[in-house]
Amino acid sequence: MAVRTMIDSIRETLADEMRRDETIIVLGEDVGKKGGVFLATDGLYDEFGGDRVIDTPLTESMIIGASIGAAINGLRPVPEIQFADFIMPAFNQIVSEAARMRYRSNGAFSCPITIRAPYGGGVHGALYHSQSVEAFFSHVPGLKVVIPSTPHDARGLLRSSIRDEDPVLFFEHKKMYRSVRGDVPDSDYVVPLGSAKVTREGSQVTLVGYGLMAQYSLEAADILDSDGIRAEVVDVRCLRPLDTATILESVRKTGKCVVVYEDNRFGGYGAEIAAILAEEAFDYLDGPVVRVTGPDVPGVPYNHVLEDWFMPDPERIATAARRLAGY
């Protein structure tokens, strides 16, 4: 057991997995000598060489398209998209091809690839280095979508993702890379895909989030605690498949739910959670399903006053939960 940052946990897991399974390759922009712009692949080039750690051209569609082909022919690619914002040129390859390969071939072909990408705001990245793109992919049958919020889960979920037989989008909140530390066991544990986690028990209101917002929800629960409000926090961890049971169970207990996501509100991922609650938790809801989200503007602006305006934070979550608790 050792204390690790998110980025260390991810890097070490990549290295471990590559040692375990020689069909794993890493490819992407600047993943080689530079070790990635966030150093998620630092050292891999030295250890595994240029055949398994490939600096690609600046062409995202190619990164994913070639990964699909390589997976078809026996490799297990772990492509990196430098920023989640830049996954869009690969949208067709991911959504039309990777997601649909198994279904369209009636189960004959599959695409075991894990697409890693840093996402999220709050780091002065502005419109194009701050995006939350999970809603686009978690809507697509055939894809799996994972967002860890602790170094422990990052390791366990990345292992599960790489070992999965289907394409996984693995999004890492870039603000958490170095700011979040935690215990990471040395054992070969996995966190199964599709399992949410109650990260704090409470009785009056459920806060549901993922990534940075899972952490902010915990911080909000602290604030609420000092007001005498006991909030339960659910970390979604895997957005598709979603562990609906854990969320429903929590809301059955508390009767109230705040869904938190950093992405734009309208049609964001949390809308699906709210919709599930509206459909399946109706009998035990004691108040509206409230969403705390980023506003509906086309990106996180750069200047810090604008960026602060955009980002949901523990205070805002606590304010909404407080109001809901008093409903």
């Binding site: 190619m62 082909g69 022919n73 390859q93 279904y103 071939s105 498949p241 979603l242």
Partner: protein, 364 residues
């Protein structure tokens, strides 16, 4: 009648035997017969959609003939029937895709006709968005190189589709790493209704090879033996580790784009006529006759065989069952039923809360 010497001559420099030549002819002729049957079935209302490769068969058979079946990889497109039959797909497997029946190996009836793919023969599943497969072939070749499997990947696309960004990104990556891949563009002059001059800023797609660090070769798609030579050179080169080749086969689209298209709306009568005259089938037949490879007896035998094959494929395919609707939810993931289909709401009727048939609630 042709002499034995002449017989040996044709294709001899290419290492082709008389049997090879007859086999190549047979592949072209059978593909044509299957294709013609598709249109008859379509007009009879038995299959709602046809997309076919009439006019492309000579190039396809020639280019693919030197691949190693079951070892190399073929990454086709929707007109690839002759390529696929050359690479080991059975006419029954082609025909059942038209009927989209349950045992269809390509997709179990899930995809439209033309979207072939057979795992055990290294034929990658075709999808509809054009040109995506060119990157898949490149990735397959990357794996072949890194895993040292000695495999070559060959992939095909139309000239219109070759303008997509994916095409160039694939060529670029394959060029950098000298991957064992062969890129074939079957240029039939039209992308549905849009002529080459409105699709591409150059008269020949092959001109683009050089800018991506590989030979760009033009071949007359009606010249089967030259296609064979060109294909073999590119495949050998790829296998040697000397990198990719871009081949442009000039072919003719003898039918409308598909059964949904009316090509008289955008092509002149002369253009259509000229297109028919570039049919590779009679040309190859004449070539083989002249060389004494095809004699009347052989021709008659092949004709009879092809009739039997087409009848058999059609009858077999038509007699298969539609897929069970319960299968529609399978194969979304390897390990799980389709997301949320198994959740409890409205108790046992959870997913069918919307009123669907009970089979929708079944296991994956």
């Amino acid at each position: 009648m042709a002499t034995d010497a002449a017989t040996t001559q044709l294709g001899a420099d290419l290492g082709l035997t008389r049997a090879d030549l007859i086999e190549m002819y047979r592949l072209i002729a059978i593909t044509r017969a299957i294709d013609e049957r598709m249109w008859i079935l379509n007009r009879a209302g038995k299959i709602p959609f046809v997309i076919s490769g009439q006019g492309h068969e000579g190039a396809q058979v020639g280019l693919a003939y030197s691949l190693r079946k079951g070892h190399d990889w073929m990454v086709p497109y929707y007109r690839s029937v002759a390529s696929l039959i050359t690479f080991g797909m059975h006419p029954r497997e082609i025909m059942i895709a038209q009927f989209a029946k349950g045992v269809d190996p390509s997709s179990g009836g899930r995809q439209m006709p033309g979207h072939y793919g057979v795992k055990d023969r290294n034929i990658l599943s075709v999808s509809s968005p054009v040109t995506t497969q060119v990157l898949h072939a490149t990735g397959i070749a990357l794996a072949a190189k890194l895993r040292k499997t000695d495999q070559v990947a060959i992939t095909y696309t139309g000239e219109g589709s070759s303008n997509q960004g994916d095409f160039f990104e694939a060529l670029n990556f394959a060029g950098i790493h000298k991957l064992p891949v062969v890129f074939v563009v079957e240029n039939n002059g039209y992308a549905i209704s849009v002529p080459m001059s409105m699709q591409s800023s150059v008269p020949d797609i092959a001109m683009r090879g050089e800018g991506f660090g590989m030979p760009g070769v033009i071949v007359d798609g009606a010249d089967v033996l030259d296609c064979y030579r060109t294909g073999k050179e590119a495949i050998d080169r790829a296998r040697r580790g000397d990198g990719p080749t871009l081949i442009e086969a000039k072919v003719t689209r003898m039918t409308a784009h598909s059964s949904d298209d009316q090509q008289t709306k955008y092509r002149t009568a002369e253009d259509l006529q000229a297109g028919q005259e570039r049919d590779p089938l009679p040309r190859f037949r004449e070539e083989l006759r002249q060389a004494g490879v095809l004699d009347e007896a052989t021709e008659a035998k092949l004709l009879a065989e092809s009739k039997v094959v087409v009848e058999d494929a059609t009858d077999w395919a038509e007699s298969q069952s539609d897929p069970d609707p319960a299968t529609a939810q399978r194969h979304v993931y390897a390990d799980a039923p389709p997301a949320r289909m198994d959740d409890p709401f409205w108790q046992t009727e959870r997913f069918i809360g919307d009123g669907g048939p009970t089979s929708r609630g079944g296991a994956s």
